[in-house]
Symmetry: none
Subunit: 421 residues, 2 copies
């Protein structure tokens, strides 16, 4: 087995709004995952309010327990934010203007054509013992301390600012400071099968996994991730071990695997479409633009995404998408006949290789006996044929929108693979 | 000033899977909200692993800080679950079979036609100093202690089991044990102004807030929430005090306020459109369907949302949205001239009162000197006029999409208010 020195980290979230339940602390969970990936062990997480006594006590307790203390929040320009003055007090140093930080804040506002306020100017004043860490997506800088034989990082509570500071500065810095154990992760991403069915298909393989490889099931909406984690001393060896196991499990679940590691379903579809040099267009009714949003959230999607139409009423399904009035009248908007025409017509309008369509009753209202809330039709039109599928989903509107999006993207994925095999 | 005795609570989440980021601790946030509602003040939250030393330390620290300690997790039948033995050790008592608990577990399994295992039988053994609290939806019972002048409750980590125990037992028990203060919260939701500018506009008002009312700034993408929290004995009095303060601050920031408490920007826009009986349609280029998704995520949005077009390429801005080819050629897709036509034409196509449009360079690629990544034009077309606006945003694609959506929805909000004043 392995013989590394364990590096211990503590995560400290600061803010009354967290303790009052006004804001959900998603930062601590995300940081836990990032540290786990690089083999740093999170041994404690705390949430404290905007209160000097409890914050100072938390600094002290964390210092006793951990080699690294990562804190988020309490850095805004307003008066209820105490992190900076208390860190200065805790490390017994002054707070002074950092010209470089002032420049950064100025530029941040100039870019946005806005006036710098006195409060913003104050954000460029930092404890003299800290290393100034630029925050390029916000106004509150990061602060890095190496004090009392512990590494400290203070970050804003705004998730995308914190994440940028973690990726650009904290993670590299930690890797530079410590001899971390070698950990190799690989995630198999699956879609179109539930956790328990997946577990059933691979149970024998799972039983025979080597001791230094751990398997975790990470289910999310309509998808299940399989995370393989190998611990050891030699990266290449671990990688080889994991790849061997993946070669063994692949044939058991091939058609459900759409990608690996960080690749999202919409990214994998983008990759496929680019490979095959094909283009897609969408007619979204019940999903109201959500599928197009997922596809266009991927950089470079303009190469394969032609566009979309959201005809939210029958009148527009006819006038803008040329769905025959009598079909709409006789079968309704949520029917195989309508969804087929929607997919075929949008494909033609946008001169695409694949035309996707969704139409259903998202809820919470609008259902009836024959077509209850959660009834959804999806379709994919391609050269020469159109595949349509009926889904029976939940009572929850948002859940229905999300599950329909995953099912529709998966229908496209399978269509591309079948058609181009 | 108020003269209640503040009741302090600490929430303790137990489990390695939380610290490693394998499971997201949603329990602590939910418990925070429930305690906040009844005027119990959460002063600290901790997450510790399945480890005797850190768990005992956490009990001790919590006892020093809080009147009530609510813990979740570490109660499963497996060996890595330490909560029960450690509570027995901490309170210096034995663990004995509780016949009533055994009956409950037996019934639980009979109902499901399953065999009772030895491990399940052990779940009916509890510390002698605790009050057995039946868990009717699971196998791990709740444990209530009144020790060391503190109230303790241990609950399973499974969210729906924890929630049932909280609602049926813990909340009523706390209300019975304490004279609780009354807490009144109201959140003012603003859009279109940054935290520091907002703080600047209301700084005098903030200085003069009564001592029993606390203000917190809660910023999120393009929005800032102002949370007023009043502590006292009389709900109606607190509500009146808070409303008085809101009446004072309103005139200072009127145009930025879109709603209160839990209302989202897209909900408030839906409310406005329904009130005025107006309808909206969108032409989304750089936002790729995201704004339509936000609008249609609200139940009942079909009453005011007509539909949307996502013409992701100039060719379709012309063929499907009738934007003049020469305008596209001479001014480009990201220009005042193009965005104006997009908004006006989509309004006409969908026979809407308001036509919204977005067109920009979301990035990370596609920018150039004259129009760098983050350059976005938005517009709102209405009866007789069209308002357009240029935004200079970030390098981050997702952020640009989200910030454009907020700005566009806010442009619609202001247009509705101006037009119908």
């Amino acid at each position: 087995m392995t013989n590394y020195i364990e590096v211990k980290a503590e995560i400290l979230a600061i803010g009354d709004e967290l303790l009052y339940g006004q804001i959900n602390d998603t930062n601590s969970h995300w940081i836990s995952q990032e540290l786990d990936k690089i083999g740093v062990r999170v041994i404690h997480r705390s949430t404290v309010g905007d209160n000097s006594e409890s914050m100072l006590a938390a600094f002290e307790a964390a210092e006793k327990r951990a080699d690294i203390v990562l804190m988020t929040g309490g850095l805004g320009p307003t008066n209820d934010d105490l992190t900076k003055p208390l860190l200065a007090k805790y490390f017994d140093c002054e707070i002074e203007l950092v010209p470089e930080a002032l420049e950064a804040v100025k530029t941040f506002f100039e870019k946005r054509g806005r006036e710098l306020t006195e409060l913003n100017r104050l954000q460029a004043h930092l404890p003299t013992k800290c290393t100034y860490v630029p925050n390029v997506v916000g106004t509150a800088p990061g602060m890095w301390f190496e004090e009392n034989n512990t590494l400290w990082m203070s970050m804003p509570g705004v998730p995308h600012e914190m994440k940028k500071l973690m990726k650009d500065f904290v993670i590299p810095k930690i890797k530079e400071k410590f001899e971390l154990p070698v950990i190799y992760h690989k995630v198999i991403k699956t879609v179109g099968i539930g956790e328990s069915w997946l577990a059933d298909l691979i149970k024998d393989w799972e039983k025979n996994l080597p001791q230094n490889i751990k398997l975790a099931y990470l289910p999310s909406l309509g998808q299940v991730k399989l995370r393989l984690t190998a611990f050891g001393n030699d990266y290449d060896e671990l990688q080889a071990n994991v790849e061997t196991q993946i070669d063994l499990v692949k044939p058991l679940i091939e058609k459900y695997i759409y990608g690996y590691n960080l690749e999202s379903l919409e990214e994998s579809i983008g990759r496929l479409l680019k490979q095959k040099n094909k283009k897609v267009a969408l007619a979204e009714s019940c999903t109201g633009g959500y599928i197009s949003h997922l596809i266009t959230s991927i950089p470079g999607s303009s190469k394969y995404f032609q566009g979309a139409l959201v005809p939210y009423h029958n009148e527009f399904k006819n006038s803008l998408l040329n769905v025959d009035k009598t079909v709409l009248k006789n079968h309704g908007a949520v029917s195989e006949q309508t969804i087929t025409l929607m997919a075929e017509n949008i494909r033609e309008q946008f001169n695409a290789d694949y035309g996707l369509a969704s139409s259903g009753i998202a809820g919470p209202e609008g259902g009836w006996a024959e077509k209850p809330v959660g009834t959804v039709w999806i379709a994919c039109a391609m050269d020469g044929r159109t595949i349509s599928k009926k889904l029976q989903l939940t009572q929850d509107r948002m859940l229905n929108i999300q599950l329909t999006a995953v099912a529709t993207l998966n229908l496209l994925r399978l269509s591309i693979l079948e058609e181009t095999e």
